[in-house]
């Protein structure tokens, strides 16, 4: 949980230094006032990444050369992210720690405008979604992910070079198989937990949505049966890989299928049949289910919800809001004060032209 937040030269925000209490925070303001920047600062502190841009320098206030954001958590950890000579720097209690340790200090669950991509976008969005979930539960999984990436890159280069030394290729396939089996197991476990959490949440929320079925689709399909199975599948694909000069199987091809189950048990891809409002409700439910999975593992995430009430009918939203969890710290932005009139809120904030104030 966040207890203190400060920001200097960050986006259009005026110098900020505030105490943040527990409970539900509503941040109101017109578009462009700086509400999203406020959430972005927290997200950046928690993950060292921005949800708006891959170019961290974009976060610097116009006319300044660097920014600095700082926060304290209830566990008395001090997190810091800043730009130094154009480079991103991160600190936990003044020290540059491992990324896994940094990620563990302030777990977040975040909804932004691009979140809908999980349902409608390319498989890469769903792989990112799964990995974010895996990392939320187990920051040390970062090591497995980077090991897999490394092994895959090695194999890619070998295949690309045309003539392939069979001994070298089998070595890199072996390394790829080992990391793939670990990564697939992590993703499978996460999806299983998420699926159970989602079912529970949808039943409690009564959103008027059909039953949803989540299924992890690993590549190769044997991936969750262990290293030997993965290695076998990779070896079978080898001749084809050499011919096409690229790796064809592996977690870089994984997907997550999200389907609606009809009354007769038939299932259809959500992205084809759901309306924009239904997709938004389901997307949010997925995110909140993720939050519950974290809580089930005694991780208490800060929930960041950016402009979450847009395109969502107020009835569905108020049902979801009651489920967001009154025990968590939640920061939610909105440009529509009317939507919130009858909802339970603990703290109110106003953002106007980059100025953040209570009330």
């Amino acid at each position: 949980m966040l207890t203190h937040l400060s920001a200097t030269a960050f986006r259009n925000l005026e110098a900020l230094d505030v105490e943040v209490g527990p409970g539900r925070h509503l941040i109101l303001g017109t578009n462009g006032a700086g509400k999203t920047s406020l959430l972005e600062a927290i997200y950046l502190l928690a993950t060292t990444r921005s949800f708006r841009t891959p170019r961290i320098a974009d976060c610097v206030r116009h006319g300044e050369s660097s920014f600095r954001v700082l926060c304290e958590t209830a566990e008395r950890q001090k997190l810091e992210v800043f730009l130094d000579a154009g480079q991103r720097e991160r600190r936990v209690n003044g020290e540059r720690t491992s990324l896994a340790d940094h990620l563990a200090a302030l777990p977040v669950v975040c909804w932004t405008a691009s979140e809908g991509e999980v349902l409608t976008g390319a498989p890469t969005e769903r792989r990112r979604f799964m990995d974010r979930g895996v990392l939320g539960l187990r920051p040390v999984a970062l090591e497995v992910m980077s090991r897999y990436r490394h092994a895959l890159d090695g194999k890619k280069e070998l295949l690309k070079s045309g003539w392939v030394d069979p001994v070298q290729l089998s070595v890199w396939t072996d390394l790829q198989a080992r990391a793939a089996a670990e990564l697939s197991a992590l993703r499978a476990t996460y999806v299983e937990q998420l699926s159970a959490g989602l079912a529970e949440l949808l039943e409690a929320a009564d959103l008027g949505l059909p039953e949803v079925k989540l299924k992890y689709r690993p590549s190769p399909s044997e991936a969750i049966d262990g290293v030997e199975a993965v290695r076998g599948a990779l070896e079978q694909a080898q001749a084809k890989e050499i011919e096409l000069k690229q790796p064809l199987l592996g977690p870089q091809r994984d997907d997550l299928s999200i389907r609606w189950v009809g009354r007769e048990g038939e299932s259809r891809a959500v992205k084809r049949v759901a309306s924009a409002g239904e997709r938004k409700a389901l997307g949010l439910a997925l995110l909140l289910a993720h939050g519950q999975v974290l809580q089930g593992r005694n991780v208490e995430p800060v929930v960041l919800l950016d402009d979450v009430d847009a395109e969502l009918d107020p009835e569905r939203w108020s049902r979801l809001w009651t489920l967001v969890g009154r025990h968590l710290q939640i920061l939610v932005t909105s440009a529509r004060p009317a939507v919130w009139e009858h909802l339970e809120i603990d703290h109110r904030w106003q953002v106007e032209s980059g100025r953040v104030r209570r009330g």
Partner: protein, 203 residues
Amino acid sequence: MLSDVNTPSSLDPLSKLVRELSRLPGIGQKTAARLAHHLLRVTEDDARTLAQAIVEVKEKLFHCEVCNSITDRQPCSYCSDPERDRTKICVVEEPFNIPAIERTREHQGLYHVLLGTLSPQRGIGPRELGVDRLMDRLTGVDEVILATNPDVEGEATALYLARLIKPKGIRVSRLAFGMPVGGDIEFTDEVTLGRSLAGRRAL
């Protein structure tokens, strides 16, 4: 002339020093600047001693033509020591890995320094590593200990060598590192490394 602004000859001495220091591994711009300012303050004698030491290393030391370790004579002290066990060869990535293993006193055999690891990304294959030269040394050897780092490339190199060496009927073992993944032999304390040498596993 504008285009000359950044060539080494036109830099002032301090910037030149920062530039040279920042080319060293693990030294960023900031550390380089700090080191340069430190060197500015040392006595002229100390500065000369340091400069001399750097030049001397280049003049008097070279790679052993048998095992690639750093030496001032040919072959090196490990290769020419009659007390060392010639039936065991420990394979490491870099010459600076040897002192760490020596300190454990668990390995009394010979060494072979690869001067790198297999890395398709950087175009380093068996030929670039001189794997043939290692193979040529295996007559009379009954165990090869692969002590490459436990990162992806070190692991790939170990697996690769194991596949070449094992068919020759030679025992191949891998250092079982009791250290964090991504750790480096260089930074592993003697006790951990000694324990891993004793508990090395067959590949």
